[in-house]
Symmetry: C2
């Protein structure tokens, strides 16, 4: 069974157009690679009511894993955990282990001369105040710990918006949790480049293969029209085992090859 | 009054992690520049039920302008207009002007030798089948016209997912419509670079300025900790006139300067 996943990316800067949200794309790649399926990603402003509403709707849809990004820092507009606690009806509490993580980070930064002192100011303490029942995730790059929270059958993983911090927590602190969540799911794809600049000429072949192989996802990507323009066709599948997934892909690929040949569309490359 | 806007980006490729969605960021920049406010962006798969549900919820929230991107091409998984018609309870009809646009494009492409013939195959005709009451928007780059549709007080603008096509329609076919929709709204920002690597040290100043100037949005951006690391603070505001917006920004900036000086945090650059 594919593990359903959603992403909620938080921050006015994303919707003002000040910052390109690259975290969602990075997480989609990783989650797909783990065999999970991202059903939706929502970018919202630093508005606790909206953050809470979007989170609650994802929980109510029965989403198995929800990632949130952004809004974990020391400033007052970092509202993710407040919004989450309110929406889920949990009090906010200073978490001793999270506080230890924050203290450790500032001690290290102060010793290195990167910050002027290691004292736990209210702004720094804020990063250790978590919804009740949450578990902090060590942040190897910055100060704000990630947060893991179970709500019924849903696991919520809250990560900072700074890409290096998000990636650091994902890769260094989440590995056993991700293995537990996504299990042995398997994902694979084949990419074909074809010498054809007209997606409408390709459409009958792509559509027929899709209809004949509903468990394989078939997508052609248009770029622009013109001589020498090549189109990309991606076949992808996910399942419980490598054998199952590779078998499905091979069958779909074989049919696609035949149909392209019949249309006199040359395949330039398969990878 | 700021015009509320949402974006719905459609395509499995975005959530598989195959393609980074750059359209949302591009649209956010343009809409913000026009004085509009993007409240939310949702990335969804090529699932007509989900597309319809997300669209309908945005309409029901009273969003004034909704942009959708992707899913307008000739293949069967290009489902945006079908999903929209179903969700809004409108039949799909071949639109004569849209068909003329598609025909014109393929005639031009065939004359240039970019496609093998100009005949209107079912796959090409599909791009001219629009929800009843919709208006096609000329696509200067590719074949699929954009689509404009009014639903009550909401304007829905449907654009292709290929960035060059989306940008071409936005810049060449939408100008008068955007002026009508966004009116005389004005947006401006000031960006400060400060010589401080510790966002928690900056937080009291940023939070105080935000509290004192609720009509200005104040945001500091953390990068990483370290010597020589600089933080970026953005002040932004929108309003009906340039004078009003610039006046608000100047007052907030003045207070921020004073507070940073009191904290001995040097400003390196203001732009």
């Amino acid at each position: 069974m594919t593990v359903t996943t959603e992403i909620i990316a938080i921050g006015n800067e994303l919707l003002i157009g000040d910052v390109q949200d690259t975290n969602t794309h990075w997480l989609c790649q990783r989650i797909t690679g783990l065999g999970g399926m991202v059903l939706r990603a929502t970018l919202v402003r630093d508005d606790p009511q909206v953050i809470g509403e979007v989170l609650l709707q994802a929980v109510q849809r029965g989403t198995q894993v929800i990632f949130t990004t952004g809004g974990l820092g020391p400033t007052a507009d970092d509202l993710t955990l407040f919004a989450m606690a309110t929406a889920l009806g949990r009090p906010l509490e200073e978490h001793p282990e999270a506080l230890r993580m924050v203290q450790e980070t500032y001690t290290r930064l102060a010793q290195a001369g990167y910050v002027s002192h290691a004292e736990l100011t209210p702004e720094r303490r804020k990063m250790a105040i978590l919804p009740a029942g949450a578990q902090p995730l060590y942040n190897p790059v910055g100060a704000a710990p990630g947060v893991l929270l179970r709500q019924g059958d849903t696991t919520i993983i809250t990560l900072p918006g700074v890409p290096a911090e998000l990636q650091g927590i994902f890769e260094q602190s989440l590995t056993p949790i991700l293995r537990e969540l996504y299990g042995q799911g398997y994902y694979a794809e084949r990419v074909l480049i074809v010498d054809c600049g007209d997606e409408s000429a390709l459409a009958p072949a792509v559509d027929a293969v899709q209809r004949g192989h509903p468990e394989v996802y078939v997508k052609s990507r248009a770029k622009a029209y013109g001589p020498g323009v090549r189109l990309k066709i991606t076949l992808s599948a996910r399942g419980d085992s490598k054998e199952e997934v590779e078998g499905r892909l091979s069958m779909a690929l074989e049919e696609l090859r035949g149909r392209l040949e019949a249309l006199h569309i040359p395949i330039v490359q398969i990878s």
